[in-house]
Symmetry: C2
Subunit: 194 residues, 2 copies
């Protein structure tokens, strides 16, 4: 089956988002990242600001926060509502057109389709820290903390909603170390698999 949708999961600072955007440009297909926040907000009835902060990350409280999140009479927490809205938006996008989708557990959400190439981009710690300090204009110590915090929250969100382990090779078609391979080569490899 030809792959026409690319999902990019990535470690913070690995350049996964950048690589995904370049691939979408070069292939001339749609690119979905923060630009789907408004749609998720509309579907969930929550504010775009809330979605931006929470849709892909576990609550700051920690890894077990989902399990203990406040739930309404249907047993659903606010996190669940956001996730359900996000899931619907991603399923619709995949149905509609060829595209690159960044993060948001799209690999798992689209697991029943066989036209999806699931990519995980990771990197070596020194290179990731360097990239974060540059992009966010922060000191090294702050970059280390951001990296640990965001990856932990992405992982908690993924593991909770998918029952899979974030960053385990088996979940993805292709995993690439962007520090060792370089961004250009990562893009090239992804495009060859389409």
């Amino acid at each position: 089956m030809t792959k026409r949708i690319i999902t990019i999961s990535r470690e913070f600072g690995s350049g996964g988002r950048f690589i995904g955007e370049e691939v979408a440009k070069k292939l001339g297909i749609a690119y979905y990242d923060k630009n789907i926040i408004n749609e998720i907000a509309e579907k969930s009835g929550l504010s775009p600001e809330y979605i931006q902060e929470n849709a892909e990350l576990s609550p700051k409280k920690g890894l077990f926060a989902y399990a203990f999140a406040g739930r309404d009479v249907t047993g659903k927490s606010v996190e669940d509502l956001v996730y359900e809205a996000q899931r619907k938006v991603i399923l619709e996008l995949a149905e509609k057109e060829s595209c690159v989708i960044i993060g948001r557990n799209a690999d798992y959400i689209l697991k029943d389709r066989d036209d999806v190439l699931n990519v995980f981009i990771h990197g070596d710690t020194p290179e990731k820290i360097q990239r974060i300090t540059r992009l966010y204009n922060v000191e090294e110590q702050k970059a280390v903390k951001m990296m640990a915090d965001i990856d932990k929250r992405r992982m908690a969100n993924y593991n909770f909603y998918t029952n899979q382990k974030w960053g385990k090779a088996d979940n993805y078609t292709l995993c690439l170390n962007s520090s060792q391979l370089g961004y250009d080569r990562c893009e090239k490899i992804i495009m060859e698999c389409i």
Copy 2:
């Protein structure tokens, strides 16, 4: 740094060994797999038959067997002696020439070199089972059991000696799903990274 050594870790039935052998042929470099057993045997003082059965796999007794293995006065078990001999052989091979090395935790053993491309080949269960039934001439049920047993023992050996998790994307430069990408494309991608 240019990569001149390729280590291939692989799930049983994923075709990782075949892919590694093809890459070595096409690149015209050495290929090390079962052909290093005699050297490991010589260095460890154990028989080639024993090495063949044990050098890459945990004891059949189960996952915790290493921890409880009988140890001599130096605190070393037979498994440790085998591993130490295997480690020395792999370090020497990497020093000597460009090559492909299959399994044997070579990715971890060579972690201090920066000329090594670490590859993990995995696959989808139906395709792996089909391959095992064909290659080993066994029924499907037997293939499922072989696959589970061998991957479990490889994982136990890897996790015990490396303190890393077998199959976690972060350990490797490149992880490829051979069922989805096809063997030819896996070979091509690996060769592009050299």
